[in-house]
């Protein structure tokens, strides 16, 4: 893969690629297996494209043997963060809806990224993308070779518990938002991911933001 394409892919993942270029790249992505593999890797390692080390907490919670584990998350389709709203993201997200873009994340879509507080670098550990399209089933999981490094995850269930406990001490608006986010935090089944990502004209917050400014 050439450097420019790699850079474009990275920018798209970071939601920094102009919408027009996104659409072009999304079309290419839908028919280029090498590109799909790279995209899946980006989806899996998240912010690692910016140089950080990442571990996705796809493990079952250790302390809590509950059903809030990764079983359905393995079939989920988390999409990259659309930091500036879905207006730019949704067209190309729709374009790649048939591509396996998902990494396996823990239930509640909680993504833990390694921080810089460790003395030792952390390993990259990522699972295969969830099989959204039949073609994706052919890609086995991969694990970046482990070195003598460390990693730590907080189980998703535990973090959800923390959020609920914390919400008791938030303002009414914050509490409602926190609990709403927990309600909606797990992506829908892969097949409905596109629908859940799409915004109607009345749902896009950006026009209202402009109005309010």
């Amino acid at each position: 893969m050439n450097e420019e394409l790699d850079s474009q892919l990275s920018a798209m993942f970071d939601d920094e690629l102009p919408p027009g270029e996104c659409e072009l790249l999304a079309r290419r992505l839908s028919r280029d297996a090498v590109l799909q593999a790279r995209w899946s890797r980006y989806a899996a390692i998240g912010a690692a494209v910016r140089g950080g080390n990442v571990h996705l907490s796809g493990r079952v919670a250790q302390k809590v043997s509950v059903a809030i584990v990764a079983e359905s998350a393995l079939a989920s389709t988390p999409l990259p963060r659309a930091r500036d709203g879905a207006r730019a993201a949704s067209p190309w997200l729709r374009g790649i809806a048939g591509v396996a873009v998902a990494a396996s994340v823990a239930a509640l879509s909680i993504l833990w990224l390694q921080g810089g507080y460790s003395d030792a670098p952390a390993p990259l550990v990522a699972r295969a993308p969830a099989p959204v399209a039949p073609a994706a089933e052919t890609r086995a999981s991969y694990v970046v070779p482990r070195s003598a490094e460390q990693r730590m995850t907080v189980p998703a269930t535990e973090l959800a518990n923390y959020v609920v406990a914390h919400s008791e001490f938030s303002t009414p608006v914050s509490r409602r938002n926190l609990l709403s986010a927990l309600m909606a935090s797990e992506p829908a089944a892969a097949g409905s991911a596109e629908q859940s990502q799409s915004l109607g004209p009345n749902d896009d917050p950006n026009p209202h933001a402009d109005q309010a400014r």
């Binding site: 509950v66 730590m152 923390y162 309600m183």
Partner: protein, 340 residues
Amino acid sequence: MQTKRVSEQLAWLALALAAAAGALAQEPRQWLERMNQALTSRNYDGVFSHWQDGRVEMLRIVHRNQNGQVTERLASLDGSGREFIRTGTELTCYLPDKRTVLVETQPAGAGSLLASFPTFDEKSAGFYDIRELLRTRINRRDTRVIAVTPHDEFRYGYRLWIDETTAMPLKTQLCDAHGRIIEQVVFASLTVANHIPDSAFRPEVATDGFQWLRNDPSPLAAGVPNTSALWSALKLPPGFHMTVRSAQVLPGASDPVAHLVFTDGLASVSVFVESRSAQVPADQQSVSGVASVGSASAFSTVIDGHKVTAVGEVPPATVRFIASSVKRSEAPLAAGATGH
């Protein structure tokens, strides 16, 4: 003599103008207070859309305050079908997609829900710019649009469309320091009622065969020491201070966690401290990580052999700052905050 009279008149005029300006500055804050009061004290039933990161979910909220007893039901109308039902200090989370029910109970004496809100005062106001942007209409209702803009990047801001009649927020946006929208809630329908029947708070989820997980609301009664008094933050972002220090057992867990709450009056951050589980390999004892749940940020690290996790509706840098500043002392610290 006449000059003196003119001077007096000018002084009075300046005083009146200053008072008017002060009242004008006060008014947006008063709308925030009215809004919080309305959200907690009114009875209402509404359907709203929750937008975050390009995902939209429709939810229904039913809220009742009957003689100080708060009952609330939050239900997902699509997707997961989850429901959260709060009765007093007990929050029950129905997770049909996981066939699980979590019951979270605040420890005795933790205070009522209404008492645990951050207090927004003059000092807090110094960290935000609060102003009325415009008056507009939403769903044929007259609203005031209030903008709460943070002065630094340690906290988020809000835009609130507050109904003039009921003071209910018909629309809210959570924004970062650059004004970018992180999360939005818009009511599609909202009914403010005098009375809401008990039937409105019954879950629609059939829980046959579900796993129920409860926390122990009184861990101290079981002989577990309250270690929360041993923990504090050496440094905090400007404007934050500790308001709560408690210990509790979370649903499904066996050991209590120390729970510290820090707030600037609007934003709040919880810090949870727990002993590292023996199951955690020794080679994972010193690594940190950040995470997000909706608009909430989280940061976890290990300090003195304890796992310290900060969670709050603040930017990631803030939870990282606070969690990293938490330190353990040998002797219990003097109560500088509300202890439970």
